[in-house]
Amino acid sequence: MNPITPIINGLSITLKHLFMKPVTLQYPDERPKVAARFRGLHALNVSHNKAKCVACYLCPTVCPAKCITVEAGEDDNHDKFAAKYEIDMLRCIFCGYCVEACPVDAIRMTGEFELANYHRKDFIYNKERLLEKK
């Protein structure tokens, strides 16, 4: 084969891409569009002004990374609620089993993926931080 042909072929591919829409994203100036099923930071769903979570302990039970800590409490109506709900994001593997296990649709995973922080303790998300923002 002519030794020049492969070079021309290669360059033609390069040339073609020169006129295509780029796939890289100028992050952070440009924001990615996160898919609906993306598994990012957890959020605790709210209903009637309180977390839907009933502290059934199924999420810490199913969690393969053992990153969820729940402590149940009893409210004034003798109902069960999560007095403490903590996720250690350094341990979390974002598998989504907690969402799958939840019997009351109290937890979901958001598109939030910017979880970097400066201190280890900042990666422990307590109930306050996990409650969905409206």
Binding site: C56, Y57, L58, T61, A72, E74, K80, P103
Partner: protein
């Protein structure tokens, strides 16, 4: 045995078995909701339907149908599975699907069966129940909306506990389980109903929402309260004991527990536990290091007999053995004792002279095997509730005749056919002697009795105890004494039970001998279902006696030690776990003694009144944090292993004693196991025991009896002064010693001392329930709430002894009966 076929398998089963039991015995599991092996078959849930070929394919309940020869049973044909699914659908029609918030989830029979039978939809529709949920009860939460009406709670409360707090109310679709007049539970709070509930209708309130069942580690242990030696399963999570769990296959009692065992565990992880050694500097107890504390203690453990020790019989055998060894070999003192001295006198003095062994010849298992029970004091139920359950079951199911000699009526007197003789307080030994005399008079003695040493002397000594003479002083008619003597002597098998303890000073060596005389005269010893069982007070009271941790060979007993502290002969007092300020008689005297002694060391779990007076306080560990053995009242030696890790700043008594021995220049043992090997080699009856072979059910240490008849002296009758009452102390159902004050469960039900009196006395002094009354004796006075009950005879009041707030020892100097006056 009968032969039958279950699911094409040829099996055999006992003639009395039901199909359910036969299947279980042969490894075939039949689903059921309403069955417990302790309860009678009931047939409420219809889950255990099976097909029997001989019954033409009809579906019959396995739990109520007895097996017959040649039965061909099928337990899981498609038709049966369909029927069971239908049963579950009908149950789930009304059962709320709140498993995520129900504490029973994970341990719930209904949930497990629903999963097993894949009932994921319901063909029917109906409204759920809207019963009111009882949230107010501190120990038992009742949610009747979840109830499947299996009736187990009502049946266990009736058949075993004998209380009958729960029952079915209404009929048809409106049926529910409830209490009398639909009020809240007001019962013994033993929690047996919780243990058998197949769903989440009855739940332990102290454990509510604490953890899910599957996250608990199940740690087997032995209860640390009374001497019954019940086995426990502790539910542990994150190194905390969160609850007790039910295991129907555990122990002689099949998992049955009393209120203390089931709800009294909170002291283990209490916030009030001591966490650091304390040393008194400038008059105040200050935290210090273990090294400082142990050096200070070791430096004062010199001087031979000027050192004395008191230990609680809640220590393990190993610790008591080591403590005794330290006192004898390293300190050089023989002044050590436990339980105020008199609480073990029935064993160490009474039984050892009458039976030649300082232990009871009968076991708890004999209760069910006997024909006649003679119980001294109705308090036997309160001091040892699980033995009380055995009595209940024996009397109700096996028709055992129950005779009670007591200074008050009680729960045992309510059993069917119970014959209660209420005598004047303090005259129990005289009554027992009169029974012995009557046996002699009626010539009901065993053939060999006259050849037993001491017969002639006893005959002479009993001359003063004719039924007529005793009838006059005790208030029991001569005829009933004669009748009880006849019944006892003529029963083929008969067993005598009596409790001992710090609150029963009258139950001493004299009573033990009087009881032993009855047993020996009628030859009711050494046979199954016969003999006598002295019910010792604390978890290892029998062990403390077996280890010889009591005054012997010239050593001083507890009360002498306290006197010696006062007069300066004893300079160092080492108290391990005892709380004499509250539990020993004559509190003022105990306080004066502890004040007077030069150096007081206390190892404790809590800052008790005694620990507060100490010069050095060492934080120790509870039974759930240490390894060792307990010997129950019937000499069953049981192995206890740590259920949780101990606090790093605490040491077990074994470690404390080992460290002190090293400091005193001795050779400390390497582990509890090595000490137990020494115990097994040196203690009669313990030979051949080791931790490995004690792991499952423990082992009985046999008791060798050499009977001798010893005349026992009856205490003189207390002369009743006009306007005064006779006060007796005792142990209440909800408490054991002073430790149960740190268990939240017992304190919810019985938070303070009370004075119990008859209705007539209450009327005379114009006292009503819960009035604050002042009870005074020659030694002092205390203010207590009044409790008016029909069980007390006129002229007698009863005060329990467990409480530090209002200790009965302010007015009680250790006599069996105290004369008191009462004012509102």
């Amino acid at each position: 045995m009968v032969n039958l076929t279950i699911d094409d398998k040829q099996v055999t089963a006992p003639k009395t078995a039901t199909i359910y039991e036969a299947a279980k015995l042969n490894g075939v599991n039949i689903p059921i909701l309403c069955h417990d092996k302790k309860l009678k078959p009931f047939g409420a849930c219809r889950m255990c339907l099976v097909e029997v070929e001989q019954m033409k394919g009809r579906q019959i309940p396995a739990c109520t149908t007895p097996v017959t020869e040649g039965m061909i049973i099928r337990t899981s044909t498609p038709d049966i599975i369909k029927a069971r699914k239908m049963v579950l659908e009908l149950l789930l029609l009304n059962h709320p699907l709140d498993c995520p918030v129900c504490d029973k989830a994970g341990d719930c029979d209904l949930q497990n069966l629903t999963y097993e039978y894949k009932v994921d939809s319901n063909r029917f529709a109906d409204e759920k129940f809207h019963h009111q949920i009882d949230y107010n009860n501190p120990l038992i939460e009742r949610d009747m909306n979840r109830c499947v009406l299996c009736g187990k709670c009502a049946r266990i409360c009736d058949e075993i506990v004998g209380f009958g707090a729960l029952t079915f109310i209404n009929r048809g679709i409106e049926t529910k389980i409830g209490c009398e007049f639909e009020e809240g539970l007001n019962c013994e709070f033993c929690g047996s109903c919780i243990s058998v509930c197949p769903v989440g209708s009855l739940l332990a309130r102290p454990f509510k929402f604490k953890a899910r069942f599957w996250s608990l580690t199940k740690q087997k242990s032995v209860c640390g309260y009374c001497g019954t030696g019940c086995n426990l399963t502790l539910g542990v999570k994150d190194n905390k004991v969160l609850t007790t769990l039910y295991d129907e296959n555990q122990g002689f009692h099949n998992g049955q527990l009393c209120v203390r065992g089931r709800f009294g565990y909170q002291f283990i992880n209490s916030d009030q536990r001591l966490t650091s050694p304390l040393i008194r500097t400038n008059g105040r107890l200050m935290e210090c290091t273990w090294e400082e504390a142990l050096t200070a203690v070791a430096s004062r453990l010199t001087g031979g007999n000027s050192v004395a020790a008191l230990a609680t019989p809640r220590l393990t055998n190993e610790e008591l053995f080591l403590f005794k060894k330290m006192m004898l070999d390293n300190v050089g003192s023989s002044n050590f004792d436990h339980s105020a001295g008199y609480a073990h006198a029935a064993l160490t003095e009474g039984f050892s002279r009458s039976l030649g062994a300082s232990a009871s010849p009968a076991t708890i298992l004999d209760v069910q095997k006997t024909d006649l029970l003679l119980v001294v004091k109705t308090d036997s139920y309160e001091t040892h509730p699980v033995i009380g359950f055995e009595i209940n079951m024996g009397v109700k199911n096996k028709g055992i005749k129950l005779n009670i000699i007591s200074d008050k009526r009680g729960k045992l007197s309510k059993l069917p056919g119970a014959n209660t003789l209420v005598h004047s307080p303090g005259s129990e030994v005289a009554v027992l002697n009169a029974i012995a005399k009557s046996i002699l008079d009626q010539k009901l003695t065993d053939g060999s009795a006259s050849s037993i040493p001491g017969y002639a002397e006893l005959e002479k000594a009993l001359a003063a105890f004719t039924p007529e003479a005793v009838a006059a002083s005790s208030g029991i008619s001569a005829d009933s004494i004669k009748k009880i003597a006849k019944d006892y002597a003529s029963a083929e098998k008969a067993l005598i039970l009596f409790p001992v303890g710090q609150s029963y000073p009258g139950h001493n060596q004299e009573m033990a001998s009087a009881v032993a005389n009855l047993v020996i005269l009628t030859g009711k010893i050494g046979k199954e279902g016969c003999g006598v069982l002295c019910m010792s007070e604390k978890s290892n009271s029998q062990g403390a006696v077996d280890m010889g941790f009591y005054a012997q060979n010239g050593g001083m007993n507890s009360l002498q030690i306290l006197d010696a502290c006062k007069n300066g002969t004893v300079k160092t007092l080492f108290i391990v776990g005892e709380n004499p300020v509250v539990s020993y008689p004559n509190g003022a005297n105990v306080k004066a003694a502890l004040d007077a002694v030069d150096f007081l060391v206390v190892t404790e779990l809590f800052m008790t009144d005694t620990a507060a007076m100490a010069d050095v306080v060492l934080p120790a560990c509870s039974f759930a944090e240490k390894e060792g053995t307990f010997t129950s009242t019937d000499r069953r030696v049981q192995y206890v292993k740590p259920a949780i890790r101990k606090d790093v700043k605490c040491k077990t008594d074994f470690e404390i004693l080992s460290a002190l021995i090293t400091k005193l220049g001795g050779q400390a043992p390497s582990s509890p196991a090595s000490v137990f090997a020494e115990i097994a080699a040196n203690t009669s009856g313990y030979a051949g025991m080791s931790y490995i072979n004690l792991q499952n059910n423990g082992a009985f240490a046999p008791v060798n009896v050499t009977p001798k008849l010893v005349a026992s002296k009856a205490a003189p009758a207390v002369s009743a002064e006009s306007g005064k009452l006779a006060m007796v102390t005792g142990s209440t159902l909800y408490h054991s010693g002073t430790l149960s004050q740190f268990g939240e469960g017992p304190m919810h039900v019985c938070p303070e001392a009370y004075v119990e009196m008859s209705r007539n006395d209450a009327a005379r002094y114009k006292i009503t329930e819960k009035d604050l009354v002042t009870v005074s004796s020659s030694t002092g006075s205390i203010k207590l709430k009044a409790k008016v009950t029909p069980r007390m005879p006129e002229g007698v009041v009863y005060i329990p002894y467990h409480f530090s707030e209002t200790p009965v020892n302010a007015i009680w100097n250790g006599s069996a009966v105290t004369v008191v006056s009462i004012a509102k």
